[in-house]
């Protein structure tokens, strides 16, 4: 009897020791770089934010591809589309919330009322 398909050991469908190890090492690097940059004060705050966000995004994609085997191959295409769509939803929620709350805080700051300020200005306290 012909040996059937069930011994599918294709790295593309479910990885291999090599791809998992590569993913592990890349993730460690992506974790350590921002950590060291922060704890040893290697860069300014602005640059650090850029590095940290960049490293997080890199590690995200490393894990999505090498650990979770997302790809555009036929067996994984629908999963990838789903994840990409969820990414859009997440961006909407996050950016939308930050924008709304920023506007809220800005609008709730103390109102500057010229008339009231004149009434309570130092000069108006003179008898």
């Amino acid at each position: 009897m012909e040996h059937t398909l069930h011994t599918n050991t294709e790295p593309t469908t479910h990885g291999s020791v090599r791809t998992y190890t590569l993913g592990f090492i890349l993730s460690i690097v992506a974790t350590v770089i921002p950590y060291i940059a922060l704890t040893h004060h290697l860069v300014s705050s602005e640059i650090f934010i850029f590095i940290a966000v960049g490293a997080a995004v890199v590690q995200l994609f490393v894990q999505l591809v090498l650990f979770l085997h997302l790809s555009f191959k036929k067996h994984s295409l629908l999963n990838s589309i789903l994840v990409a769509y969820t990414g859009v939803m997440v961006l909407t929620i996050v950016i939308g919330t930050l924008w709304v709350m920023h506007n809220l805080n800005k609008n709730m700051e103390a109102q500057h009322n010229v008339y009231m300020e004149q009434l309570y200005s130092p000069r108006s306290q003179e008898y």
Binding site: A52, V53, N79
Partner: protein, 196 residues
Amino acid sequence: MKNKHHELAEKAATENLTFGFWLYIMSDCLIFASLFVTYVVLQDQTFGGPTIKDITNLPYILTETFILLTSSFTTGLGTLAIHARRPRRAAAWFTLTLALGIAFLIMEVAEFQMLIAEGHTWKISAFMSAYFTLIGTHGLHVALGSLWMGILILMLLIRGYSETMKRRFLALSIFWHFLDVIWIFIFTFVYLMGSL
């Protein structure tokens, strides 16, 4: 002829379950996104209490991060063993993963206990509420995933390998990798950014 039909049916069943489970994971993602942005919006509302900088111990967090990351790696190796139809080897890797997951949980619970003992509970400020909710929800996912993992390992050892067990382990591994992905963002945006 019948054997090939069976193989294709199993392959389709696996792909369907995998997609269905991804759907669930994506809904979980939306929950975490909401908790995340709630935390970001409230992180400065400390009401005179501790700030994120006050309660963060970076080496401790880095240790937790490496534990979870390694557990994601061992999950991968366990999944390879499942695909290779080697149940005892798979059980070994997943038991190691479970041990790492429990180690992470112990560290997280210890951190929470220390905070509570010092009076820094979720009740004292919006920041602390958001912090405990976000980190706690992630921890709860790790705990439930660990329970699921323990059950699956026992089932695998008792009942042996089957296509059904394979599908269950595939779903579990997606879940576990997803937890590490969420932690990447917690590590970066809560702890690293918080320590700026």
